[in-house]
């Protein structure tokens, strides 16, 4: 289950989307989120769907892989669809089945909301699937750059984010080790009533915290020794590279918005 989940995972590749500048991708996603709400009739929703599949096609991520990885999301989707079908009244009565009555408006709303949900999940997944976490961090740091003026600690936030990302696998490993060590001492985490299981987690968390603090201290020393003095006067090793394709992608999105706007009712 967890292995198949693709939420927040990065799949390296060499597609048009992979090669885009992370800044362009982030802007694209935010703009897209706004645009989704422009659609309001069958044609515009279909256009939205078509556009999303076009982006998926450009990312060279297999649709099957995407759909398979987002299974838990589909359960949520079906649930909201059902809610709309059963509880939104309006328009003609399509059919009734005992006390359940399905109206035309309910069906329409159900489908629309599902499409909206689907395209949002697809587009944001494409962002995280095609961009390494560290590039996303870089993109956010640069995009938030202007907010340094109002004293937002942009550099520090980005550094915090990248260090957290860097330490996730390390701490996961460590959790595994502690778990095994506690199991070897007879602690039983996998079974029993919930209360007992929660209690069993404590001897797992405490060593993890202790070691995380130790790591943080070591890391701070290592950073200081290597001349870290905050964001002032620092240069960047990873350079972002805004190309023609990035401008074009954003223009394409703006064009698409115009089309949606034209066809909406």
């Amino acid at each position: 289950m967890m292995e198949k989940m693709i939420f927040g995972r990065f799949i390296p590749g060499d597609s048009f989307v992979h090669r885009m500048d992370p800044r362009a991708k982030i802007l694209f996603v935010f703009l897209f989120i706004a645009i989704v709400f422009v659609a309001n009739n069958t044609l515009t929703y279909l256009l939205l769907l078509a556009f999303t599949f076009f982006v998926v096609f450009l990312s060279k991520i297999r649709l099957y892989f995407l759909v398979n990885g987002l299974k838990p999301v589909f359960i949520l989707l079906i649930f909201t669809f059902m809610l709309h079908i059963f509880f939104t009244k309006g328009g003609d009565l399509l059919f009734s089945f005992g006390f359940v009555e399905v109206y035309e408006e309910g069906l329409r709303q159900g489908i629309f909301i599902s499409i909206r949900f689907l395209v949002l999940v697809f587009i944001t997944s494409i962002l995280t699937l095609t961009t390494s976490p560290i590039s996303i961090t870089d993109g956010i740091e640069v995009l938030l750059g202007p907010f340094k003026r109002i004293k937002l600690p942009v550099h520090e936030l980005a550094l915090m984010m990248s260090i957290s990302l860097r330490f996730i696998p390390t701490l996961m490993d460590e959790t595994g080790k502690i778990l095994k060590a506690q199991m070897a001492r007879g602690s039983d985490i996998g079974s029993g009533p919930l209360k007992k299981r929660i209690k069993a987690v404590v001897p797992l968390l405490i060593p993890l915290f202790v070691s995380a603090f130790k790591r943080a201290e070591d890391l701070a020393t290592a950073m200081e020794v290597r001349g870290y003095r905050g964001g002032e006067g620092r240069t960047r090793y990873r350079q972002l590279d805004w190309r023609m394709r990035d401008t074009l992608s954003l223009l394409m999105l703006v064009g698409f918005t115009a089309v949606l706007w034209y066809f909406r009712t």
Partner: protein, 282 residues
Amino acid sequence: MNSIIMSFKDVTFTYTPDDQSVRPAVADLSFSIEEGEWIALVGHNGSGKSTIAKLMNGLLFPQAGEVAAMNLTMSEESLWDIRSQMGMVFQNPDNQFVGATVQDDVAFALENNGVPHEEMVVRVKESLRQVKMEEFLDHEPHHLSGGQKQRVAIAGALALRPRLLILDEATSMLDPQGRMEVIETIRELREETGLTVISITHDLEEAALADRIIVMNAGRKHKEGTPEEVFLTGNELTTLGLDLPFAMRMTHLLREAGVQVLGEHMTEDELVEELWTFYSKK
């Protein structure tokens, strides 16, 4: 070129200045290290080795005495100047890996010192080549072995082209293979660049490779000299809680058993060399 690169003069440091009952971590310590030397600093747990390393690059300041490096006296003003000329590698390979990938980590010190981008690209490649990790440019830390991570840490220290490299038990958490890799890397580096190295270690076999050994005991300098001089004291080191190199222990045991081994041997190879020619020489 016999210029002094690092010197301590009557340095005393205590973590608890208010509590007189605790012995200082480092007491009345004096020594000086010449450019190009390989120094091993050995001593039992808590003998003050890490504290000395921290005094060397201004993470700590002594209560008495003077630390000088690169012809500058250590102070708040000279601190960053001194630090940019010395690299330091610590014990735990995971806790000093800052970057998301190998190349980001090597570039970290360069970024901090405001090196321009084009120059950084060149230096990252160069340092990784020096530690033979150039194929691992884009690898993430959790896909590297301990020895590889330590070599990346060395590359990260080398990127600034330091004159002095301090290794604080950099090999103690590694398996024998990783340890060999790191020691070999240091040896080659010194041949190639003449870098000054101070390695803090528990491992007397590693210390035997150095030009000079400083033995610490309870915050004070116990002895200083070439590996031969230091190891000749034999049992004295054992009482300080240090293990003699295997070849030396073997030599002593052979002598006790009545075998007339002639020389003092610090490496296994030397001992084997004498032993297999033993009868033919007689």
